[in-house]
């Protein structure tokens, strides 16, 4: 898809008719743009901003795909398997980008890698909505969709996330007066 056909912001012609899914799609545009504008403005703590953006992007990708696939399953959508395969392929691509980004030490190389990742996410989402998601537009109905906020689905997609909690209290002696 060309830049002309893929706007920076989400536009109503990209709507699949379900609010929760449209909101997810908007999020990808927003986070990709947030990364790109941070790279342009180059603030002092750019690396920290990029790392946070990438973390959130990954969480949202996982949460959103879970939301879509659950809805397709609930609706008995016939193309679920191939849609799922496309989601998995993109997850793998994104994962590789993130792994590469994490290995980079040089500031300018980090900027380039993050810029590339933001573009890949933006273009893929745009293209995927237009060509793949639109196919379920008339099939999926709101009642098939788990409309809880994306963060909750991300949490469920990232099973075992609780294990990563770390007890800060264990780092400091005593609990003080209560």
């Amino acid at each position: 898809m060309t830049d002309q056909a893929c706007p920076i912001e989400w536009t109503p012609d990209l709507s699949v008719g379900i609010e929760a899914i449209d909101d997810d799609h908007k999020t990808f545009f927003v986070v990709a743009d947030l990364m790109q504008s941070a790279i342009r403005e180059n603030p002092q703590n750019l690396e920290a901003i990029l790392r946070s953006s990438i973390t959130i992007l990954q969480e949202y990708v996982n949460g959103h795909f879970l939301r879509e696939e659950r809805a397709m399953e609930a609706a008995g959508y016939p193309k679920l398997a191939e849609h799922h395969a496309l989601h998995e392929a993109f997850k793998a691509t994104a994962h590789r980008f993130v792994e590469d980004f994490n290995k980079i030490v040089d500031h300018n190389e980090q900027k380039k890698a993050a810029q590339k990742l933001a573009e890949v996410v933006h273009d893929w989402v745009c293209d995927h909505i237009a060509k793949v998601d639109m196919a379920y537009k008339d099939f999926l109905k709101a009642e098939h969709v788990d409309s809880r906020p994306l963060a909750f689905l991300s949490q469920e997609a990232d099973e075992g996330g609780d294990d990563d909690d770390f007890d800060l209290m264990s780092m400091i002696p005593g609990d003080g007066p209560q």
Partner: protein, 281 residues
């Protein structure tokens, strides 16, 4: 799932939130996390410093605060204390959840922020999942007000996130640290046990030596007594021998005397009278 019900209830009921961070990129990032991750119609106000934040809090009640804890640090701590200890001063809820974040924390910084009344802390990179875990944890926390401390119950744990590579690295470092600490603990335990054993052995040795010395003293006493007894016996034997010798000498003298003594029957009258006279004398 119990957890889910709690999250939805606590977080989705929030309507107003204050984000205190002078960095516009983080303001946007936090906004996106909250807008797409959390309550649908949450209204977010942004403050760029502590005074600005307090002004916004006075103007309209907030349900929770998200803040950079290195505004710098002293400013963040001052902001927290002003809220938590301002029961008489402010018209807003001083017990509202306050979630803090920074790139890193020293234990000292965690200590100070906690004592100033922070509800939860997050390490950047920010993660939506951690964000909502923190909000959930913070909003179910009891609020404590004493003369020394005002803030959420510190006995509840704080949740800290580890994302991406840093998460793995920190986790590994943390595990290595824990393994090292465990090793040190085991060594200290073994050392203490060895020291105890050594002390017990020394004590035992001392008791054994004392016992030996006592036995030796007894043995020497018995020996001395034996010697004294033997000496006394020897002396007695010498005395007895002397008595015997005297007796013998006496007997011998008597025999000699007897031999020398004239037989009165064989004496002439003249000899007899001389003999009697001699005896009389």
């Amino acid at each position: 799932m119990q957890d889910k019900v709690e999250i939805v209830f606590n977080i989705l009921s929030a309507e107003y939130c204050l984000v205190l961070d002078p960095n516009p990129h983080y303001q946007r990032l936090v906004k996106e996390i909250l807008r797409f991750g959390g309550p649908k119609n949450l209204e977010i106000e942004f403050a760029v410093d502590a005074d600005h934040g307090l002004r916004l809090l006075r103007e309209g009640s907030m349900h929770f605060i998200v803040m950079e804890t290195k505004l710098p640090l002293e400013e963040s701590i001052d902001f927290l204390m002003k809220i938590r200890k301002g029961r008489a001063k402010w018209n807003f809820d001083i017990s509202l959840p306050i979630i803090g974040y920074a790139d890193a924390f020293t234990p000292q910084e965690i200590y100070r922020l906690r004592d100033a009344g922070i509800s939860e802390l997050m390490i950047r990179p920010l993660s939506a999942a951690t964000f909502f875990k923190c909000l959930k944890s913070a909003s179910s926390r009891k609020f404590i007000e004493t003369s020394g401390y005002c803030g959420p119950d510190r006995r509840r744990r704080l949740v800290m996130n580890y994302a991406n590579k840093r998460r793995a690295d920190d986790r590994a470092a943390e595990l290595a640290e824990a393994a090292k600490a465990e090793e040190a603990r085991l060594k200290a335990e073994a050392d203490a046990k060895a020291a105890l054993q050594a002390a017990a052995k020394a004590e035992e040795e001392k008791a054994r030596k004392l016992e030996e010395a006592q036995a030796e003293a007894v043995r020497k006493k018995v020996q001395a007594e034996q010697l004294a007894r033997e000496k006394a016996q020897a002396e007695a034997a010498v005395a007895a021998a002397a008595v015997a010798a005297a007796e013998m000498a006496r007997n011998k003298a008597e025999a000699e005397a007897a031999a020398a003594k004239p037989d009165p029957s064989a004496m002439t009258q003249e000899e007899l009278s001389r003999h009697l006279l001699k005896q009389k004398k």
